[in-house]
Symmetry: C2
Subunit: 347 residues, 2 copies
DNA sequence: CTGAAAGCGCTAACAA
DNA sequence: TTGTTAGCGCTTTCAG
């Protein structure tokens, strides 16, 4: 088999080509393109000229090998098909590319096995750090990253791993606004469709709701606490379950927007109107929430903030910079009132 | 600066660690893990045992460097925020991982500059191949890939690059069904909201529409041919333009589903009903189309097929296998009738 | 300030 | 069949 990927034809464009064209050593080329300040300006100019003429750029594999830094960041998400995540990815990509990193995306599809596979893929590619933005992760995987000394960041899950960090989200703030909004409208009977409860942050959302509802002086009704799965279908099914109940709530809060959209659909199928028959509040404020019919009232969690905070924290752990690590403030959430909430029917 | 990424502490787990633990040479380890059949079973067993005990996996950077294959595939898309693309990415990820590849995603956001940057990122990471799934690409970038001998695959844009391939999509089939469906319902006045026309495949969709409309014996009205931008906002704005026209169409076809959802929104805002006041047909059949209110009638283009075909073609170019390259059949499209179409109002 | 040379972890000749 | 060795393209000592 041939050594060269290039059919043994053109000698692959390497640092050597630049060196010989610029009549300097490869070391000088390396220093120049890495902006080492000690390089003689004349030589540097020659190097840049050669780089330009040859249209050269360094082989990042080789760089990674010698430096031990792949400049690759893992991003593990639950499911790329859930619109929340693309919005998150977009921010990640932006920040990462700005800082010279590339992102490797892995979707777990909520399956522990797939999650394990994702983690393994990340290891094999020697990612410099990993952001775990799923709604839950197995502890042993975290330990694995820890033992490899790979910085990790994730939401809500505390860990003793020294190079890891938790991004805390203040779910309560937004949910509290939502509950208050509902209460002010006159609702006393509000249901909650949660995410998959084995996932930590889904649990956190639900507890926050329960907490708020009690603070508002409303006694939560177990029958109105349904477990969904953060998908559209899950929301629709959950709402259908609620509709089958003898005693109906007047408002529904959901653990994410996709669930809420599923609810809208179930209600549409049942010829029920929003907000006349039921008030509805989502969570996340995905782009689409503004465009459902009617536009969805929802709790906004800025995925811009989330991604920024995650990246900043990761990168600060990777390249300890002068600018000290900012004190981690929790990501806040707030209610965005649109048109799926109104006074309850019977009131 | 330290050489070792590992703080000079533990000697990083490498092929050498496995070799010494298994009491064989590194070559034998390499052969074993690469399933070269000539390895003695006893030694192989020792190697696997060591691999297992140490929890070793090869450094893909090093592999890439020596083999000239990064096992990285570029995937350039328009905008990850458009739900069509995550569905595509999901398929790509699946197929790629199955075949031992990793995917690097780049979003162009419809900006030529960003597209160029994406291409550059791909080059730098030495991707083995690139799938360009945007709605358009600059020729010079293709040439660049060509000169680097990187296989490329894309939609709709012919190229003379020998290692590139075009995935052709039979837009006409589905659009024809859509037009016929509308005609059968009694519509004679149908508008079309296109994508950004500088993008080739957006153009292809529009021509297909024009073609079909004429075949159906309807004379297209220039006023009802609006250029959108494949986003929700674009669809809404376009529909608002249409609504301002003195002579209104009775049905709207859109170049993609997001545009159609924007139309739904504009109509909702104007208190107009679908399908009573206007019939509406989208394009793509994204997951969400099933869940708009009312559910969107749309032309389905299987992104599963698309991704599969793209990957197959790319991989076949990378690892010429026994199984000859399947003759490329065009991706077909078909109408999915849901609930946004009905007889025209005035008829 | 510059160049020669070592070596990152791995694969593939080549020799034994 | 196995081990030794030469690089892949780059960064970084270490002499000069």
């Amino acid at each position: 088999m041939k050594r060269s990927p290039n059919q043994g034809f053109t000698p692959r464009l390497s640092i050597r080509s630049v060196a010989s064209r610029a009549r300097v050593s490869i070391a000088t080329v390396s220093r120049t393109i890495n902006h080492v300040s000690t390089v003689n300006a004349v030589l540097a100019a020659r190097v840049w000229k050669a780089v330009d003429e040859l249209n050269y750029f360094p082989n990042s594999q080789a760089r990674a090998l010698v430096s031990g830094k792949s400049k690759l960041l893992g991003l593990i998400i639950s499911e790329i098909t859930n619109p929340f995540f693309p919005e998150l990815i977009q921010e990640f990509e932006k920040v990462a590319v700005e800082r010279g990193y590339e992102i490797l995306i892995g979707s777990t599809n909520y399956e522990p096995k797939t999650m394990e596979l994702c983690a393994r893929r990340m290891f094999e590619r020697q990612v410099d750090g990993v952001a775990i933005m799923t709604f839950g992760i197995e502890q042993f995987l975290l330990d694995r990253f820890a033992s490899d000394d790979v910085p990790v960041i994730f939401i809500d899950i505390p860990s003793k791993h020294p190079r890891s960090d938790i991004l805390s989200v203040d779910y309560r703030a937004g949910i509290w606004e939502g509950v208050q909004h509902l209460a002010a409208l006159g609702h006393r009977k509000v249901a909650f469709i949660s995410g998959p409860l084995q996932h930590r942050s889904a649990g956190a959302r639900k507890s926050a709701f329960l907490d708020c509802i009690r603070c508002a002086g409303i006694k939560p009704n177990q029958k109105w606490l349904i477990e969904g799965n953060h998908t559209l279908e899950g929301g629709r099914d959950a709402m259908q379950k609620i509709l089958a109940l003898p005693d109906l709530p007047t408002a529904i809060m959901c653990s994410n927007d996709m669930t809420a959209i599923g609810v809208q659909h179930a209600l549409f199928d049942a010829s029920l109107k929003i907000p006349e028959d039921f008030s509805l509040i989502g969570f996340d404020d995905i782009h689409l929430a503004e465009y459902t019919i009617p536009p969805l009232t929802t709790v906004q969690m800025s995925c811009k903030d989330l991604a920024q905070a995650a990246m900043t924290s990761l990168l600060s752990r990777l390249q300890p910079r002068k600018d000290k690590v900012e004190p981690e403030e929790p990501i806040t959430t707030r209610l965005v009132v649109r048109r799926t909430t109104g006074p309850p029917k019977a009131s």
